[in-house]
Symmetry: C2
Subunit: 357 residues, 2 copies
């Protein structure tokens, strides 16, 4: 029996996607081989690669002056790749709204003058700081934000205005809502939340920002390396790219990103409404900054939290334990979590609340 | 119908491995989820990760003072990671025996005094240069070789003696023959030939070489980052690690590396014997330096080569076209290519030879 998996990532994939990948696992479209066995120079693989890139471009409405790159190493690798590629005048501004935003900020520091423009650390990252154009240096090479904070459950509902190119880690919300790519210099995301199996990192970068990497930039971290070769400079993570293609096909059939966004808003509203009316569960995030992907909540008692996590798992609601930095619980309700899963969770929370008053 | 896939990589996987991955694709061992969906912090994934590392250690007889790392980015990323981690006194010596060896050499150059100690470029990389301890600088931080040259079909049958730690790219021969790990400072391999699906890179490094990375080394390229976290610093390429685990289990059941090596020697002998006695097909590699993994051959006519590749594919012998740098054909006969596949290829070559005299 399949469970409802509330993991922050890797996390649920659409069941249709999994079923299709399973059925073709030993013989993809009459090729006589698995996608896991294909030469990345073969025509049959090229079909997958090309369709995956085309669907990203179509669904995210990526403008012509941007390029989609299919990379490896996770968002963590981009924390270095971004300054190595974009820090052309040695200065960048960061907004720190959580753990990963902080890592991005710290990792960038070894390459130049990296400034903390704003932070929400003072209230344990439970809100998104208010910023204006003046919060950032006019001559910064770029401004970096983390658009959705997986651990703390916040998100930038509106994105900041900046003079410098805006760079955003969208790992935990890519494909979940419409994002105007043209407002950004660069967007990046690990695939293991809303796109595919782990091992793929997607970068969407404005073309004029490619090719200015620092002399010390490793070849595989320079965007130009993969941009010039259509992300086939070396062997790509082909199976993750295949699962991404199937996921994008599935999203397209559902009506694209605006359609899945409606469902995501509905799921989040159901869960937050229940929590806000509960006498047991609490969410401490500033209401207007709440993530619709990651919903942290606590009972106020560590013992009760642990009991909840254990009993939820026994009821097929798994990986709901909160991150060690915040404790409690966290329901990650990415694109592939069905409404039904959220309803089951709320039912269980109701029951738990009654039993543990 | 499954084909015989002679691709240089990604390439064939054991059919038993694929079947097992397929059967558990929607529900791994009663977890209610696919391996592609599992949190890398979950107990069920930890079982896979731990077993994969343990089997590498067991089958390759990795000594205690070495650590196995499960990374991303391919061997190409290691071409930078190696100097960034090991170039402690600014000098390293490289032997260039092919295209990838040359890329490793060139990419290292941006970090220090990188010397070409020997090369076989003069004869289009058809041999392995003779080297002695004196070929290398005594105070080099390390000496780099490519143990098997995928494109040109050569290999180091015996490894060179060096004062400095020996570093080898073993991408296209790892797990195919017994290698004495203790003779090396570091071994590395992309997974997509003999280990797993693309997206995983294995590094086996002597522990005392970890932690001396240059200050400009990106966090994700520093071995210490993943060594300290048992290769779980960030989300690992979990599905490729799972396929690696299944492949290693399969090899263990077959009798380990010495057993598969016997089969590999047999497959290679069959093919080289046929080529050496053919009046049509030729292999130009120095006999004692021939790879048992990649067997390039030509007819001497580009037209006939193209005809061969096309007709072979129609007969279920696919991806046999040679690399553009050498032309002709190349049969990559990695661990998962059955003896039967090589016999079918030889049969077809015989027939083709008769028909095209």
């Amino acid at each position: 029996m399949r469970v409802y998996n509330f993991s922050a990532g890797p996390s649920m994939l659409f069941e249709d996607v999994l079923k299709e990948a399973q059925s073709s696992f030993l013989d993809y479209e009459g090729s006589g081989m698995s996608v896991t066995e294909m030469s990345h120079r073969a025509k049959v693989y090229d079909g997958i690669h090309t369709e995956c890139l085309a669907l990203f471009t179509e669904l995210m409405k990526v403008p012509e002056d941007y390029q989609v790159l299919l990379l490896q190493g996770g968002a963590s690798q981009q924390f270095d790749a971004i300054p190595l590629n974009l820090l052309t005048n040695g200065k960048a501004d960061y907004v720190v709204t959580g753990n990963f935003a902080n890592l991005a900020y710290k990792q960038a520091k070894k390459y130049g003058d990296i400034r903390l423009a704003a932070s929400s650390e003072d209230k344990t990252y439970t809100y998104i700081p208010k910023v204006t154009k003046d919060s950032f240096r006019k001559d910064a090479s770029y401004v970096h934000i983390t658009s959705n904070n997986t651990i703390f459950g916040t998100r930038w509902k509106e994105f900041p205005e900046t003079d410098a190119p805006l760079v955003a880690d969208v790992s935990s919300e890519i494909l979940s809502r419409e994002i105007d790519v043209s407002k950004f210099g660069l967007l990046y995301a690990g695939a293991q939340k809303n796109i595919s199996a782990a091992g793929l990192t997607v970068v969407i970068v404005r073309k004029d920002l490619i090719g200015h990497e620092l002399p010390i930039c490793p070849t595989m971290l320079a965007y130009k390396t993969q941009a010039d070769k259509n992300s086939l400079y070396n062997t790509p993570p082909a199976f993750s790219i295949y699962i991404a293609m199937l996921t994008l096909r599935h999203l397209k059939k559902m009506g694209g990103i605006s359609a899945i966004n409606k469902i995501n808003e509905e799921k989040a509203a159901l869960l937050y409404d229940f929590i806000d009316n509960s006498t047991l569960f609490k969410n401490y995030v500033n209401k207007e900054d709440r993530s619709i992907m990651n919903v942290p909540f606590v009972t106020g008692s560590e013992e009760l939290d642990a009991k909840f996590v254990k009993e939820a798992a026994a009821n097929g609601l798994v990986s709901i334990k909160g991150h060690r930095l915040v404790g409690g619980m966290r329901a990650s309700i990415y694109n592939a979590m069905p409404v039904e899963g959220v309803k089951k969770l709320i039912e269980f929370m109701k029951k738990f609340e009654l039993e543990n008053k």
